[in-house]
Symmetry: C2
Subunit: 206 residues, 2 copies
DNA sequence: CGGTGTTGGTTGGTTGACCACCTAAGCACA
DNA sequence: TGTGCTTAGGTGGTCAACCAACCAACACCG
């Protein structure tokens, strides 16, 4: 890796963390540079404007979704339904490790920037889409165990809304009560869909 | 109302909207004063610091929860379960009316301020608590129609996480697909709890 | 009644810090 | 020698915070 690519990466890493931790507007470029061990001027060399830096972080986030988020869980879990809940457990673990400092990296920025930064919104949506695609695939490959009317995509959306809301409440309360309650109910719901479908299939066979 | 209380109120009203619309950090005090038709100096008379203004808006939000949010729905709907979904419909309507500009007033600020403003976090939690109390009461007064193990509080938490997540996705995508999908699934889940309980009761009677 | 001090609220402008943004000189490596 | 990158410094602008002068309403007292 060239030295330039290295500092560029360090800048994105630093910005990624600061934007998620304290918001976009509240983060100064000088602070990003300091955290990345780079002089403020260099920052301008790679990212002409602050928004360019923001877009680069979102692009990075999108590209590391599989490597950083999905793969560790996909490798430890095979059952598609359990993979979904493994994902939820992963976010829980992140909250735990960072003592609720980091929530969902996308969610925070959506609420802050959706109205004011249209280009960022586009990338945020792409990030959500990537996540939804992955979860949709889980449900799709378990579709034979689900009721016939169940839409994998809509189930994925439900999982994402639950997760985003749960992360938000966990950060607000600084505990896992709400997060765990939400996941328990989501599991109850999915469980019911599974047994319903199983009952239907066995009755058809009979 | 004294003229002073009036300008104070106007300031809180203006700040309330701006903080929700464009975030806390991104909102300048001069902008708040302009919107409230007040000179910047007066702002300092009522609120020594920007954070004091923030806390006042959260206090106000807490006190207007019933009047502004719950009452209109409570009055048009009697069934406790339908009241819960009426609440969700109300937030949907707000998104529609404001063209996705306003999300949940509390949720936005939670993600922005939870880590950096501990006093604000306390008030944000109080706001969530008030909302949760109301929804919990709904489920509690329908408890005879729910399975015996169902906890009204935990159900309320599930509703809140769903709502917050749904609002977030609606704002990101600028459409209601995700919002509606989430609400549909939540309804499916509650519906299943109701019929389950009904079946159990009729089988006991038999 | 009327003059006088006090209080609650307003005005407009200042201050110092910080911000994103910009530049031009310097560096190392090819 | 040239190119890619880094460095230090600087500019204009905006921010929260602050202030001193001001004003109207009121209370108190001669």
């Amino acid at each position: 890796m060239s030295p330039a690519a290295d500092t560029r990466d360090r800048l994105i890493d630093a910005a990624l963390e600061l934007f998620v931790y304290q918001g976009y507007a509240a983060t100064g470029l000088a602070q990003v540079a300091r955290k990345a061990q780079v002089l403020p001027g260099s920052l301008y060399y790679f990212f002409p404007t602050k928004e360019d830096l923001l877009l680069a972080t979102l692009e990075r986030r999108k590209q590391t979704l599989y490597e950083g988020v999905l793969r560790p869980i996909w490798e430890s879990t095979n059952d598609p339904i359990e993979r979904v809940f493994g994902l939820l457990a992963g976010y829980r673990q992140m909250l735990e490790l960072t003592e609720f400092k980091h929530g969902c990296p996308i969610g925070n920025l959506v609420l802050e920037l959706a109205e004011t930064h249209p280009r960022a919104r586009g990338l945020l949506v792409q990030n959500f889409d990537g996540w939804l695609d992955a979860v949709e695939q889980c449900f799709a490959s378990a579709q034979d165990r689900l009721p016939p009317g169940a839409s994998p995509r809509q189930l994925a959306v439900f999982v994402l809304t639950t997760m985003e809301g749960a992360v938000m409440l966990a950060r607000a309360y600084r505990n896992f009560e709400a997060y765990d309650a939400a996941v328990v109910h989501l599991r109850e719901y999915v469980e019911r869909l599974l047994v319903e479908s199983a009952a239907r299939q066995s009755s058809r066979r009979a």
